[in-house]
């Protein structure tokens, strides 16, 4: 199955081409779009195979005895790869509008690192064992570092330090140790349905190993190692949108789900009391992050905390440890990806058109930017879990999973957090459409000295509007046509729950 390698190589080669054509922006951006398209067109045809039960695999290099660099496609990875490669196309369109609209510097570096990040994300999605996954995981951290610090000023350097510091220290200090521990007790790092640990480890050690994994996967942003995510918001918005709402953070929760399902095995964890802490910690993260989000005035920071809380939904759902809740977790990866990227696109659109970054500045903006705010509304509804959006679906599965296993704590968290989500998203929608616009003088926000007031702007550039409409539509479409992700998610737990 050499085409697996080709899929990952496509964006890598794209990155080289982008670097080579950096002098002429039009060619460079065409290359970006073409690469994105080519990647998606190679990922998509794999889907029927995987649904039919095939597990295409490829061993690239026998790096160390028993620890090869290997790829393998399984349902969850398939879904993740589909989401990432599809949204990359949309995000490429968006970033062209955004980067040009904001006259950002170093655009070539931006596009190169972006393609690299996608290549590594696909590598994570298709990783055939924990070693491969870890390799791409670290590569993703490093390739996104230049994107986070894109501005190159003191603030972004500090943010970059937090970003790299937390992600590297958790992965090297905990995750690597966890992986090696796993290897030393099981002699294998492969992903096997049902887990590889049954009978190899028991009692409190399971809890400890689970701790190493859950806190080692810093990208899943479980409290208290979540600080890198708000810090990463200094990056240009397309980065926040695709990477810090989709690729990077989803790589985190994707790894979490994979570890729980394929390494530990649901049954092992469900029967071990020392592994129960995960449910409570992730539940607490959901609530606390929502509460923090309520207090954020900076729109991107509010979205970042919302992401932290939504990521912990996935962990929470996986930690309920019933097949149906794991389906919910997988679905939520998809649903949140579409919803959150829409929200970030909208935030970037507002910044590009009006140079506004704070929630308190958004009064009445819905009338000037109807498309943007309509998309924002759809995204918000999905976050809250209101039909007809994708968020409803995943929450439904999570709730029924929690109910069926009588995990009342999880049920409580889900209900309470839905209220909180509504609490921090609906006021924005309300203000944007129903409040009158504030006069010019009140504009106290961060205007970056561009001299734009709140007056005299309309919608954002066309590529931006197109991109955010597509993702908003996707959010709704997922509700009505959940077939594909649902089938993949059910395949993950081995049949219809």
């Amino acid at each position: 199955m050499i085409d697996l390698l080709r899929i990952i190589l496509t964006p890598l080669i794209g990155a080289i081409l982008i670097a080579a054509t950096g002098r002429s922006p039009n060619v460079r951006e065409t290359v970006t779009l073409l690469t994105a398209l080519a990647t998606f067109l190679q990922v998509a045809p794999l889907t029927p195979e995987v649904l039919a039960g095939a597990r295409p695999a490829l061993e690239i290099l026998p790096v160390m005895p028993g620890v090869p660099l290997a790829l393998q496609v399984e349902p969850l990875g398939m879904m993740f790869a589909l989401i990432a490669s599809f949204l990359w196309i949309v995000a490429s369109v968006y970033s062209i509008g955004y980067m040009r609209g904001n006259k950002e510097h170093h655009q070539t570096r931006f596009y190169v690192c972006f393609s690299l990040a996608i290549a590594f994300t696909l590598g994570i999605a298709f990783a055939g064992n924990l070693f491969t996954l870890f390799l791409f995981y670290e590569a993703l951290t490093l390739s996104t570092y230049p994107l986070v610090t894109h501005k190159g000023d003191e603030a972004s350097m500090k943010a970059g330090r937090v970003y790299l510091g937390i992600l590297l220290s958790t992965s090297i200090g905990l995750l690597l140790i966890g992986i090696l521990w796993t290897y030393s007790i099981t002699g294998s790092l492969d992903f096997v349905p049902g887990g590889i640990m049954a009978g190899k480890i028991e009692g409190p050690m399971v809890g400890l190993l689970l701790f190493l994994y859950m806190y080692g996967i810093g990208k899943a942003a479980m409290m208290p190692i979540h600080r890198w995510l708000p810090a990463a918001m200094v990056a240009p918005t397309p980065v926040s949108a695709l990477l810090h709402a989709v690729a990077v953070v989803k790589a985190g929760v994707f790894t979490v789900v994979k570890v729980i399902v394929y390494v530990f095995g649901i049954d092992l964890l469900a029967n071990t009391s020392s592994a129960q802490w995960l449910l409570y910690v992730s539940g607490a993260t959901v609530i606390i992050a929502s509460l923090v989000a309520l207090q954020q005035d900076n729109l991107k920071r509010r979205l970042a905390y919302s992401t932290i809380s939504q990521l912990s939904y996935v962990i929470l759902a996986a930690a309920i440890l019933t097949p149906i809740s794991v389906v919910g977790a997988a679905l939520h990866i998809a649903a949140h990806a579409f919803g959150k990227i829409t929200l970030f696109f909208a935030a970037g659109s507002i910044y590009t058109a009006a140079h506004k970054t704070n929630v308190s500045q958004l009064d009445g903006i819905g009338r000037r930017m109807p498309w943007t705010m309509a998309a924002f509304t759809i995204g918000s509804l999905s976050m809250i879990g209101v039909p007809p959006t994708a968020g409803f679906l995943s929450k439904w599965y999570m709730l029924s999973g929690a109910m069926s296993s009588e995990a009342w704590f999880a049920v409580g968290v889900l209900i309470l957090s839905t209220l909180l989500n509504a609490g921090y998203f609906l006021p924005i929608v309300y203000a944007a459409f129903l409040k009158p616009e504030k006069p010019l003088g009140d504009d106290h926000g961060d205007n970056h000295g561009h001299g734009h007031g709140s007056h005299g702007h309309g919608e954002a550039p066309l590529p931006i509007v197109i991109a955010l409409c597509v993702t908003a539509l996707g959010t709704v479409a997922l509700f009505f046509l959940p077939g594909l992700p649902l089938e993949l998610a059910q395949d993950l737990v081995g049949g219809t729950p």
Binding site: L61, V63, M64, P65, V67, L69, F131, F134, L135, E138, A139, L142, T149, G152, M157, G160, R161, L164, G165, L168, S169, I172, G173, L174, L176, I177, L180, W181, Y183, S184
Partner: protein
């Protein structure tokens, strides 16, 4: 048959070639000669490695005197591996040296410098290949004496003080080593290592043996710069010419580690197993603790260095801790982790010091603060530095990761989960000091009045790029590093030779 004489030629060639550098006098011919000799050594080392891989260990009897009376040169897999490493690094460094030496050493001393370099190479190769404990001392001193002279050639008068202090401590270390060997000779009547290994267990329960082991341990640790005997290393590395630092950092300490392994694992370990030593802590535990302390103290001190070379030197102290930690496990995995890290770290440090050498050539300083804006102005050099740094941290896909992986595996095998955690933690310290340089080079703009800076000349960039790519290569293809290390470790611990 010339092929039969390879083990002797391996050492004799650079030794005989060294004086010719002095006769050649002019810089260019001297460099060309040294380069050619180094390449020849590399060729011989590779053919020895191939010979060993196919035909098993080679024993060469100097002057046809049979061991244990005559001096034996022994080439097994590990020996050949280290020979290739040393001469390979030597070849790269020599290719790089032309421009760097021209900038850092007055031209009338070039020929002498190249002669010293060849002598140092002789010593290192000799230490590796010899099977005789006293002969090893002679080669040790050949390499050390030439090293003192080379360190003293550094710019600035601090280099002289560094060389002097290195000389004093190095000589004390070497003398301790001779004393240890003398005590072993007293109780066994032999100096041949293989012979010693056979005879020692019978006399392991004597005070003489314990004293000998102590003297050998302290003497070799001094040469190896194992914490707390590392004080000579940072100043020596910081003030020596860039080429010398790169060469020493990636070969001299590595050969010392090799000797430590030879003496302790091969010669003394059988006797230790036979002996009943008193005390709550065994020597092994002491070494483990020292290695752990080295890992942390070295990295920690490195963080606070303003001088990039000194920073990397302290980092070496820490990395030596990793290697010794692996060796102190005395399991196949642990020992192979030590060996593979010896190999990978040689590549890592060569990359980093060569990159710093390029920087020094262009901006005339190795202070971290002066590197502002270099990410833009010397992109290739800094890219190599970052690559080396990532490997030092142990990012997967680089050589450093493979060693760290093995080391942690070894720790788990021993049940030392705390060591596994500490290894993880101390790699994070490496992130801090590597990133300190990265941030300055890529985020701080160059000062307004800074003179324009070009990328380093091509003759320096090519070796730098080669060695930098080795970091990636050996991160993904581990047959030649880990494969050889495992086989060597298995044969060392198996008692016999494969």
């Amino acid at each position: 048959m010339i092929a039969d004489q390879l083990p002797a030629l391996q050492v004799a060639l650079p030794l005989i070639a060294a004086p010719f550098c002095v006769f050649l006098r002019r810089p260019l011919p001297a460099w060309g000669w040294a380069m050619a000799v180094t390449m020849a050594c590399l060729g011989m080392a590779i053919s020895l490695l191939l010979a060993v891989l196919h035909g098993g260990p080679i024993s060469y009897h100097v002057g046809d005197w049979d061991p244990p009376w005559g001096i034996e040169l022994r080439v097994d897999m590990l020996t050949a591996f280290v020979l290739v490493l040393v001469s390979g690094i030597g070849a790269l460094v020599m290719a790089y040296a032309r421009e760097s030496v021209r900038a850092e050493i007055p031209s009338e001393r070039h020929a002498l410098f190249y002669a010293m370099y060849l002598l140092c190479l002789t010593g290192l190769l000799g230490m590796t290949i010899t099977g005789d404990a006293f002969n090893l001392f002679v080669f040790l001193e050949i390499s050390s004496l030439s090293t003192y002279a080379m360190v003293g050639l550094g710019k600035g008068r601090q280099a002289l003080l560094a060389a002097y202090n290195y000389l004093i401590l190095g000589t004390v270390g070497a003398t301790f080593y001779v004393l240890g060997v003398g005590l072993l000779y007293m109780i066994t009547g032999t100096l041949n290592m293989a012979d010693l290994a056979e005879r020692l267990p019978a006399v392991a329960n004597t005070r003489t043996f314990v004293a000998a082991a102590g003297f050998l341990a302290v003497g070799l640790s001094l040469k190896l710069a194992l914490f707390p005997l590392h004080k000579w290393l940072p100043p020596a590395y910081a003030h020596a010419p860039s080429v010398v630092t790169a060469f020493l950092a990636s070969t001299a300490t590595k050969v010392s580690l090799y000797v430590l392994i030879r003496i302790f694992v091969e010669v003394l370990a059988p006797a230790f197993r036979a002996a009943h030593l008193p005390g709550p802590l065994s020597e092994g535990d002491v070494v483990t603790i020292l290695a752990l302390v080295a890992m942390f103290s070295g990295s920690f001190v490195a963080i606070f260095q303003a001088d990039a070379k000194r920073m990397l030197a302290y980092s070496s102290v820490a990395q030596i801790g990793y290697m010794v930690l692996g060796v102190s496990m005395l399991t196949v995995t642990g020992l192979s982790a030590g060996l593979v890290h010896m190999f990978n770290h040689a590549i890592i440090k060569a990359t980093l010091f060569l990159a710093v050498g390029c920087v020094f050539l262009r901006i005339g300083s190795v202070q971290v603060k002066d590197m502002a804006g270099l990410g833009k102005r010397m992109p290739l050099t800094m890219a190599a530095f970052v690559l080396g740094g990532l490997s030092l941290i142990g990012i997967p896909g680089t050589g450093g990761f493979v060693s760290k992986w093995q080391l942690v595996m070894g720790a788990f095998e021993k049940g030392w989960w705390w060591a596994a955690l500490l290894i993880g933690l101390s790699s994070l310290l490496a992130v801090v000091y590597v990133w300190k340089v990265v941030e300055v080079a890529y985020f701080k703009p160059a000062p307004k009045d800074a003179p324009p800076v070009k990328e380093a000349p091509i003759s320096m960039l090519v070796p730098l790029a080669l060695i930098a790519l080795c970091n990636l290569f050996f991160g993904l293809q581990t047959d030649w590093s880990l494969g050889v290390a495992r086989a060597a470790a298995a044969s060392l611990l198996g008692g016999g030779t494969p």
